[in-house]
Amino acid sequence: MTADTNVISTDVKESKKPVFSIPDFRKIFPVLGLIAVIAFFQIYTGGKVFTVRNLKAVINEGFFIMIGSVGYVFLLSQGSMDFSIGANMCVSCAAAAMGSAISPVLAIPFGVGTGIIIGALNGFIHVKFKIGALIATLAMQFILNGFVVILLDGGTLQPPLNMLKWNTMTLKITTFLVIVIVGYIVFEYTPYGKRCRAIGSCEEVTKQTGVNYPLMKFIPFVIMGAIAGLLGFFSLIRTGTASSHTGSELMMNVLNAALLGGIPISGGATSKYRAVVIGGLTMAFLTNGMTLMGVGNYDKQLIRGIVFLLAIAISFDRKNMTVIK
């Protein structure tokens, strides 16, 4: 008897796909959310959402949120996060302002460079000292909040006035498209993006498949930092000032956008890049709509907090969880 006679194969069972299941719901929920937000404000404000002037405001808002989300997608897909991006943007904005005092063109390298340094510091602390990303970046946020006050000497900094002319739609839309498209390609079609999701899905497996996971986990913090720095620069040319309040809304807006877009906070294989666009738009319309309705800043925070909880409740991937920690 040869070994081949031992083959046993059971018939493949015929199985039909269910018509409607939970993962499908997760897929369409972000779109429904976006439509709901737009519809609500469109009706409530009596059609003020879709005016040329207002749409420009939405783009201005969405620019920051979506570019921020591009960085966040890489972090979240690994199950990491960065709470210091707003504070990073604030420090980078101040650095950009200081650079512009020497020469306006230095604003960009100063801003982005500072962002990268802070991001790298976050990543280093997280990977090297094995401190949870949430704790490490939360601490970083407080440190930066304090640091920026020292940096600005308690006041504000202004760039040379002619720099405000840089704040054109063309520059912003070009920057936006380049970053979103490059992010898309890297996330969905390169080994790096795929490994990010693999780490979020099961770190031990990536380790046992030869992935250099400390480096893999470090990189997204640097990308995020670079993006926060770039946003710091854009904030500078948009508002013409660097203050300790710069970027205060970024963290919550971006995190909400990624979650509302459908990325589970636990990361992993179900993380999809479309979250950047859909979630970013949702948050842009939400913020803009609240402004149209005359909602105050504190009330906005309250609403964002509620949205955050809802987004987590809906996007949280419970499949992997046996015990809620």
């Binding site: 390609i185 380790k207 992997n320």
Partner: protein, 499 residues
């Protein structure tokens, strides 16, 4: 015996997980003083049925009776009180707690005085429970984390037996047990039988079932197939009923040739690593090198060390050309593959789909320029999923939805696709039904004939003997014997070297 009183009965049980029908109108009868074996391939519904009886999960529909009364426990505590206790296939204990706290989990009030729990009394009582099952070598005050898998299973057994159950359910536990552990379990089963209590015993080991059980109930794909009494037991017939067609007795290698190629492909040079002490061996091209021993003999550390996951404190692992293996990335450059014993935690991303799992090791070769295009991924996955006959709806299906055997096929497809020359397989057939088992053995035979080398680590001695060109037995982290492939090599002969 048929006139004996029915102790437990389950009628028309249904249970579905999504689209998978885990139980499809299954009924089961258990008499007093009976050891009932449940057998079936993976995914046949054995664990589902018994875990419903132990109230670990609810049935979709169906009725259960105990001693003639309707039996509908809502929680495991209620099931325990009704006298039904279950030892789980997977880990059912808490690492951070002591043995005693594990035994009395949920029952701490027994030792409470004015709201304060007396650890001393608890430890004393727990030690009694351990002594009772003759596992006195485990001390009640030990933290569970220091125990090995077998000892943890014994703690679970002590916990179950402390409740003095009328029905003990043992789910696929013996694979984790050494001979001593098995003897403890068998003795308990016999004792329960004498006391007119009952045992439901689940195992993949047919010989064990034939020897220990009075009756065997066979399930297949969630459907009840047949029940056989002791006098009807016949291994071949049982296998046929399990898979639904004729199966050959022997699915190991049938040739008695050992590898004659002397080309060294991997080498362990005086290695101390983890529990290993002074390990030396050479793996040859086209050789299956088997490692066996007791559960804690250190054989799993061989695999980890070979793949660079465990750094040797002394000595080194090197390929034939003298290149030293430093880490997994390094090992992969030398065309090595490793599949951990802990399949669901370490070898597969169960929350990802089949495609991502199979491609993970091979992105560098799937690239077109800097990009991995969906078409090349799809082609790659289809090819290897097909090659291994993975049963799936499509490659976007989540791995967690697959049966144990199909999961293992995904893990193998990943490394076959990667194009490994050296396969380090740690318990590749653990908890896998015989159908897929024989697929895996055939694959190993094929790889061997293609000149690939395999390190086979297994707790099943018969598998090591049956498949290996050379068998190395480990004992307490040291090599205690090395044996060439030959007809006369038997388990009985090797056991002396194991203990």
């Amino acid at each position: 015996m048929n006139q004996q009183e029915l102790l437990f009965q389950a009628d028309d049980m249904y249970k579905s997980f999504g689209i998978t029908k885990a139980l499809n109108n299954v009924s089961l009868k258990l008499r007093r003083g009976q050891i009932l074996g449940l057998i079936g391939e993976n995914g046949s519904g054995k664990s589902t049925l018994t875990s419903i009886a132990a109230a670990i999960q609810p049935a979709d529909s169906g009725k259960m009776y105990k001693s003639g009364q309707p039996y509908n426990p809502a929680t495991t505590v209620e099931a325990n009180q009704a006298g039904v206790c279950m030892i789980l296939q997977e880990k059912g204990t808490f690492d951070q707690l002591t043995v005693a706290k594990n035994i009395f989990i949920g029952k701490e009030e027994m030792f409470s005085k004015n709201g304060i729990i007396s650890n001393r009394n608890m430890n004393k009582e727990a030690q009694k429970a351990l002594d009772h099952i003759k596992a006195s070598h485990i001390r009640a005050e030990m933290p569970l984390g220091v125990l090995n898998f077998e000892e943890r299973k014994l703690v679970e057994l002590a916990r179950a037996m402390y409740m003095d159950p009328e029905i003990l359910i043992v789910d696929e536990t013996t694979t984790a047990l050494s001979r001593t552990g098995r003897d403890i379990l068998y003795e308990i089963m016999e004792k329960m039988k004498k006391e007119e209590k009952s045992v439901i015993f689940i195992s993949h080991d047919i010989d064990e079932l034939l020897e220990k059980c009075d009756t065997l109930t066979i399930l297949r794909d969630g459907i009840y197939v047949d029940t056989l009494e002791k006098e009807q037991f016949e291994a071949r017939e049982i296998k046929r009923l399990m898979v639904g067609r004729e199966v050959a007795d022997n699915y190991y290698r049938t040739d008695m040739q050992s590898c004659e190629n002397e080309e060294v492909i991997l080498k362990f040079d005086s290695i101390d690593a983890g529990s290993l002490k002074d390990i030396n061996f050479e793996l040859h091209k086209g050789e299956i090198l088997g490692f066996g021993g007791l559960a804690d003999c250190g054989m799993h550390d061989i695999g980890k060390t070979a793949f660079g996951l465990l750094k040797p404190e002394k000595g080194y692992v090197a390929t034939g050309d003298g290149e030293i293996v430093k880490n997994p990335a390094n090992a992969m450059r030398m065309k090595m593959a490793y599949i951990s014993k802990n399949r669901d935690q370490e070898a597969l991303m169960t929350a990802s789909n089949i495609k991502d799992n199979i491609c993970l090791a091979s992105y560098p070769k799937l690239k077109t320029g800097p990009l991995v295009l969906p078409e090349s991924e799809k082609k790659f996955v289809d090819k290897w999923a097909d090659e291994l006959e993975i049963k799936m709806q499509n490659s976007n299906q989540y791995v967690m939805e697959l049966s144990g055997g199909n999961k293992q096929k995904v893990a193998l497809a990943k490394w076959l696709g990667f194009g490994a020359d050296i396969f380090v397989l740690d318990c590749p057939t653990r908890g896998i039904d015989i159908g897929v088992k024989s697929n895996i053995y055939n694959l190993m035979i094929r790889l061997r004939s293609e000149g690939k080398s395999i390190i086979l680590i297994s707790e099943e001695l018969s598998e090591v003997i049956g498949m290996s060109d050379r068998t190395i037995i480990l004992k307490n982290g040291k090599i205690s014997g090395e044996f060439a492939r030959e007809e006369e090599l038997t388990e009985a002969k090797l056991i002396d070297y194991m203990m």
